[in-house]
Symmetry: C2
Subunit: 372 residues, 2 copies
């Protein structure tokens, strides 16, 4: 089992993409949006890949979300012409904003006062503007009670012929702290309430305003998206152990894993050393049911992809290139240096960003921004 | 103060390298090695840069350490012809080993039994072999009491005309858990004792064997390297907050920082949001004196580089692209979106790996492996 089951060589840490699982994750999301009659604007920061994006496009998705202007540029080069940068406006990048806005429908995010007037000094082409509302995550955005702040930005938008108000956007990142469907639903309902209060206040003045929400736990666990116009979730294209712990996915839905050579086994201390470290997995961790720190769950590679081992194994420590796997003695006995193990991501966005490109289970290379 | 003090534009997270501090760190290391009459084989995994490596070469350093064969290849392409890969042998990469060993003096590490015979089946060119000894860190290497394991590897080395025994190597990574010079010294003395016991046992059989040690806390805090032939430390080229906490460097010796645009301020909750997140800093953290989690210390950028702010600020949370800085209200009042702040690394190796290339304080680009 632990030897290479694939039709291609793997001799160093290699990011595998199970296209079938990924497509199923995309299909589920597309169908849910259709059923709820909401616009799908998936976040592409997770995969950052033209090819993965094309799988959305084949299913009728025509717009997307990114978290940097560099990503907006990358996707615009592959025909995406309606892109929201869901990150607080960084007006220092006005040149790139102007360049992109001359070619595509570019939507920017205003999360505080003071920044839009700075952009307007340099803006040459028309952009859409979302106002970010803090629905309880407390990272960025206007407090929903800060009506004077929202009014000020709205007036600034209306004062310029180059800015068009698109609506209110929020990211309920505090769903990541939940561990039940009902807790996620409660946060989502509060988000919908907060956003609709604003919509009701401004719908006469701005009849086309949309409400856009974003997190993967809500997108996965909430069934009814009444009161919302647009979903922006991104992580669900791959999912990961963090989402599985929340209950947003099953382990079987996780669509990427890193294949790692075993380089040493130390049965006397229940440890396996793999070639695969902090520069490959990134260093996000979760706490296991037993209270241990885990930087990734170990899976056995098969000719169909990967499967959970009979007894759980996890990455307990990371150096730059080394991973230390905790295992039972029986599993270690079945392993030797030169075998391969898979590691499921704690946080797929960061793992994929660290790795540069993907290999499908058939050995096809899927490139992404960081290696382009 | 917070506006850009440099003669070049910065509009997104940018890794700055203070060449002067870096050269001073290199000089200190070179002088210490000379004074102790030990060979310097600095670890280049921290900087992974031809140009930074050349600053060692200009000071007489002729050999180096890396943690992957890919890095060995990169440095061999710039004239480094004596390289130790201080990572347990991954014999799946035998083709690359053969290719490198045909051009340079390549030294490999044997950390467990079973792997050298696998390599010998495919080895075509002569390589040097270090046997890794676990002097107490318990990551990889032979238990110093495991004489039968060491003997077995030695016999395998002696049985092949393509392998030459170079000596015993250890990495006392447990010095990273220390917070005093005396604790680091104690670990180093134990490492020296363990390695010299082996040297005494085998010096008649292998008169040329060398003892190689590696960690940055020891290289920085120990004054007397009697009983050691070679130093391999790497992190000290840049240092970081982890080393400062151990006492291995001062904050003023840290030679890299990321310049980040401020994108939002929230004085009511003592927070600043910067453009700079997990994909830039990586996610290693330290605990501050006050018990808070810190992903980086904030510095003010000046035309001479950077300096500590009057009141400490630190990165308290990271998303993929956002950093949340904890600050006092007074400091926040002096900041606005569009200003720049610097962030010192918790772990410089991972930050530099995440960022791809450096800019010197004069705006010169210093490239590294990951972008080559």
């Amino acid at each position: 089992m632990p030897a290479n089951p694939f039709q291609f060589d793997i001799n160093h840490p290699t990011l595998l993409l199970d296209k079938q699982k990924c497509i199923r994750n995309i299909d589920r999301f597309v169908e849910k949006a259709k059923k709820n009659n909401v616009n799908l604007r998936p976040h592409f920061k997770t995969h950052q890949s033209h090819e993965v994006a094309s799988w959305f496009k084949e299913r009728g998705v025509t717009c997307c979300t990114v978290s940097s202007l560099k990503m907006a540029q990358y996707f615009s080069e592959d025909g995406w012409n309606d892109i929201t940068v869901a990150f607080p406006l960084n007006y220092l990048e006005a040149d790139l904003i102007n360049s992109l806005a001359s070619k595509i429908q570019l939507n920017l995010l205003i999360s505080v006062c003071e920044v839009l007037p700075q952009l307007l000094k340099k803006l040459k082409n028309r952009v859409g503007i979302f106002i970010e509302i803090d629905s309880g995550y407390h990272r960025t955005g206007f407090d929903p009670q800060d009506i004077s702040g929202v009014e000020r930005v709205l007036s600034e938008i209306e004062s310029s012929p180059l800015t068009e108000f698109r609506g209110f956007l929020s990211h309920a990142g505090h769903t990541y702290r939940c561990n039940s469907k009902s807790a996620v639903e409660e946060i989502h309902l509060e988000e919908v309430r907060v956003l609709n209060d604003l919509k009701n206040r401004y719908k006469a003045r701005c009849p086309d305003l949309k409400l856009s929400v974003g997190d993967t736990p809500s997108a996965s666990l909430v069934d009814d998206f009444s009161g919302v116009d647009e979903l922006r979730a991104g992580n669900l294209v791959f999912y990961d152990l963090t989402q599985a712990k929340i209950g947003a996915c099953s382990l079987d839905q996780i669509a990427i894993a890193i294949a790692c050579p075993v380089v040493a086994t130390y049965p006397e201390r229940n440890e396996i050393i793999i070639y695969g470290g902090g520069v490959h997995f990134s260093k996000d961790f979760i706490t296991t049911e037993g209270g241990a720190i885990s930087y990734g769950a170990v899976v056995l590679l098969t000719n169909k992809g990967w499967e959970l081992p009979p007894t759980a194994m996890f990455v307990k420590a990371l150096s730059q290139e080394h991973g230390t796997v905790h295992s039972d003695k029986e599993s270690i006995r079945n392993l030797k240096p030169g075998d391969l193990l898979g590691v499921l991501p704690v946080h797929s966005c960061l793992m994929a960003d660290a790795m540069g490109s993907y290999l499908t289970l058939k050995g096809g290379r899927v490139s992404r921004l960081s290696e382009s």
